[in-house]
């Protein structure tokens, strides 16, 4: 396990460290560099695009338009953000425009309904000696075997739970927790405020946790 983690660490480092070389390669029209970037990011771009436009075929067109945007803009890319963040800003803007054309606007200022993170029924009522404390405690997942936690069925459940979120929440949690962008990069790519980003993330994570709890506790 530890050797695998080490290798992942090296790969992560490589991804950030070789960016200047990739930018130069792209500017120079190096097809191996383009193929490498396409392999690295297109799956994630497709996933994000699909949260805006829903249909796979349209999402593929968005990804294609985004790469054309990347190529047309690369000469002006100055590295103020990382290449990856810049690419995701492009795909996000194109997907947003495309969604709007299809009558599906994604307002990031609309944070969704202010629902509690946890069903209020789970807490003791105001007449109790300990109001607002757990009435039914969450269970520890530490004893769930790893192969069950990481089973494709569990991961599909997570993916479906994300797919059912309001789009702005789904996009933020996908960029943060699925793709591993940090908060500042997500705000930059989606052009949203840090506090809105955090509220969207909170609502999204709370709902995904809830879906996982229902699934894992049912066993």
């Amino acid at each position: 396990m530890s050797s695998r983690d080490d290798r992942e660490g090296v790969v992560t480092e490589l991804v950030t460290d070789d960016e200047p070389a990739l930018v130069e390669g792209l500017k120079a029209g190096d097809d191996a560099v383009f193929a490498e970037l396409v392999n690295r990011y297109s799956g994630a771009m497709l996933r994000v695009a699909q949260l805006y436009v829903r249909s796979r075929a349209v999402a593929e067109e968005v990804v294609q338009d985004a790469w054309i945007g990347v190529l047309n803009g690369i000469a002006r890319f100055e590295g103020r953000s990382s290449l990856k963040t810049w690419i995701f800003r492009i795909v996000s803007n194109i997907a947003k425009t495309r969604a709007a054309k299809e009558g599906r606007s994604i307002p990031f200022s609309d944070l969704g309904p202010n629902e509690p993170a946890v069903d209020p029924e789970r807490f003791r009522g105001p007449e109790d000696r300990f109001p607002g404390h757990w009435a039914s405690l969450p269970s520890s997942w530490a004893r769930i075997p790893e192969e069950r936690l990481l089973a494709s069925e569990t991961l599909t459940l997570v993916e479906d739970a994300i797919g059912k979120l309001p789009p702005a929440q789904a996009i933020v949690i996908t960029m943060r927790d699925v793709e591993g962008f940090d908060a500042a990069d997500v705000c930059d790519a989606l052009d949203i405020s840090e506090s809105n980003q955090r509220v969207l993330l909170h609502r999204a994570r709370s709902k995904v946790r809830r879906a996982l709890e229902e699934y894992l506790d049912a066993a």
């Binding site: 990804v63 269970s139 997942w141 909170h202 994570r205």
Partner: protein, 83 residues
Amino acid sequence: MQPEPELTCAEVVELVTDYLEGRLPERERDRFDAHLTACDGCTAYLEQMRATIALSGRVPAPDLSPDLKERLLEAFRGWRASG
């Protein structure tokens, strides 16, 4: 100085993202930590939240269709030829 009232579990679950994001002001964070040391339920909740984040990071990316890949490479060749 008035002692801070203790956080309830219902409050903790709404602060958990701010806590994990390092966005709680120091005094709030101290109250949050104090609550955790005394509350198994919220400790389990925080652990569930961390597991949720980790599992989201394990969701595999969709596969690119060979057709899309080919279209992208074609777009690249077109861009290079025009540049």
